[in-house]
């Protein structure tokens, strides 16, 4: 590979360095050799540190995590064999099972590697089934995770969890569901573990393996539960609606997003309930109607984003006659972007260079819909029971991939141990 500083890649740049360094191109074709002869077993190496006590060992490990680029800068747990084995109790599959390779670096992803990351991230064994399903989905080629990991758009995985496991492992679907939440901490650990894998196995280090300009949401990614209990009657859970899983199936759904924004949904004065609902819908659609091009990669098969609305809003709107379908249809219809707006912002050329012929052909549509069909938009009930806001995870997602969550045979025992360790709160008791 012949690399140049960024300025040469900008419009009207001086490309003379290409000529000056032409020999490097020639040698790349004739003399280049892989400088690594790595061939290894799937099991990683062990590292030993000497310390006076565990406190000092933990400190030394965290110093090593910084110097060896293993961490995210926040404190980590030591991935000792004991801790990793404890986490592995949550695996239904053998620890040596290979799930794939984490791009772009390509380190091998095993069940054990997932447990290792979860151990470092402060996770627990009962979280591991969700992480394993999320990693499987992440590695599905249709997600383009190999490109999104490295690209500049700061894409991060969004994992929506359905099924009884949500409450069993203390995964938040309510107030502060994107974290942090000490009462329902599972999402932070699971998402952080996935992020550590992206970095440590995938090599997605800022400025080298990951060119994300900003990297927002990347400490923990976004892992939350759909508020199935708070959804209005007739609403279909996301895992069932999008992926066809049977209702009450433990499952995850993974998409990529490149932004996270609050939308002021509630009306402010003496509006009627109908006006409040309609104004909120328009405000959300107006926000979605941004020629930001995030929706182009997922135009046909992925998603323009994940719109989260609180249960109290969904229920009130259902009382007014709105359905899951009518809300999504409305948002799709009213988020269409006038071609004049796309043209003015230069967005047309980004659609013209898209690899998907159907996406390119969509330029015939004026106004231009942000997705090929309303169903591409993920509309989900989540967030605390307060009517003022909704939340938009701006998609950057060629696909939305679902996976069933596989549980080990003694999962109930793990949940009981979690209750013992964490106490059984009023809304977070493992065994309902």
């Amino acid at each position: 590979m012949v690399t140049f500083p960024m300025p040469i890649f900008l419009p009207e740049s001086d490309i003379a360095p290409v000529k000056a360094r032409k020999q490097e191109f020639y040698e790349g074709l004739t003399r280049w050799k892989l400088d690594s002869a790595e061939t290894a077993a799937e099991r990683g190496r062990m590292v030993t540190i000497e310390a006076a006590d565990y406190e000092q060992a933990l400190t030394r490990f965290n110093h090593l995590a910084i110097s060896n680029l293993w961490g995210d800068g926040l404190p980590l747990w030591l991935p000792t064999p004991q801790r990793v084995q404890w986490i592995l109790r949550g695996a239904a599959a053998p620890e040596s099972l290979v799930l794939g390779k984490m791009p772009p670096r390509g380190a091998i992803v095993t069940v054990e590697a997932c447990a290792l990351a979860l151990a470092m991230a402060g996770g627990r064994p009962e979280y591991l089934p969700v992480l394993l399903a999320a990693v499987e989905a992440f590695l599905d080629p249709s997600t383009n995770s190999d490109q999104l990991q490295a690209a500049s758009g700061s894409a991060f995985p969004v994992v929506i969890v359905n099924g009884p496991i949500r409450r069993q492992i203390r995964l938040n679907s309510g107030f502060g569901c994107l974290g942090p939440d000490p009462q329902r901490p599972a999402g932070a650990s699971i998402g952080r573990a996935l992020r550590l894998m992206q970095q440590n196995l995938g090599g997605a280090l800022p400025g080298t393996g990951a060119m994300a300009n900003y990297g927002g949401m990347r400490y923990t990614n976004a892992v939350f539960a759909e508020d199935e209990e708070g959804s209005p009657p007739g609403w279909i859970a996301h895992g069932t609606e999008r992926h066809g899983f049977e209702p009450a199936t433990n499952s995850i759904s993974l998409a990529f997003a490149s932004g996270a924004t609050n939308i002021r949904r509630r009306s402010a004065k003496k509006e009627t309930a109908e006006e409040d609902a309609l104004q909120g819908m328009h405000r959300m659609a107006d926000f979605l109607r941004t020629p930001n091009l995030h929706c182009v990669p997922g135009w046909t098969d992925g998603t323009p984003g994940v719109l989260m609305i609180p249960n109290i809003v969904a229920q009130r709107m259902a009382e007014l006659g709105w359905t899951q379908k009518s809300m999504r249809d409305f948002l799709w219809e009213h988020s269409k972007i006038p071609m004049a707006s796309l043209t003015r912002s230069g967005s047309v050329s980004w659609i013209e260079v898209d690899s998907n012929p159907a996406t390119r052909a969509s330029l015939q549509l004026d106004p231009w819909p942000i997705a090929a069909r309303p169903e591409n938009l993920i509309l989900t009930v989540a967030g605390g029971g307060h009517p003022t806001n909704s939340y938009w995870l701006q998609g950057y997602s060629p696909a939305v991939v679902g996976r069933r969550i596989a549980l080990p045979s003694d999962y109930d025992k793990l949940l009981a141990e979690a209750d013992r360790d964490l106490s059984c709160g009023s809304d977070a008791c493992a065994v309902d």
Binding site: S13, K22, R45, A51, A65, W70, L78, T80, I108, N356
Partner: protein, 96 residues
């Protein structure tokens, strides 16, 4: 005390070695795979002219001889087209 822990960076197994390099570019057929971004439309034609000047015996294919775009480059169909064209070496650019 000694504490042992797992190396978090995992392991890499090279199961698909990179293609062998050609000994010389003289007499060879050289192709381009362009993603048409990051000034590839200027830099790759410059490289083509340099190759033609420095290796008069080489056959340098047009920049657009093969499908272009980030999504097109890794496709098996594109790879097959490159092979069918009898290309000995290929320059891929520009990285995004």
């Amino acid at each position: 005390m000694r504490i042992e822990f797992h190396d978090p960076s995992g392991t890499i197994a090279v199961s698909q070695p990179h293609a062998a390099r050609v000994g010389t570019l003289d007499g060879k057929t050289i192709g381009f795979l362009s993603n048409e971004q990051w000034q590839a439309h200027r830099m790759l034609p410059l490289l083509k002219s340099l190759l033609e000047s420095d290796f008069p015996g080489a056959r340098v294919l047009p920049i657009d001889a093969f499908p272009q775009g980030n999504a097109e480059i890794p496709k098996d169909a594109t790879c097959a087209l490159v092979q069918q064209a009898g290309v000995d070496a290929v320059i891929v650019g520009n990285a995004s």
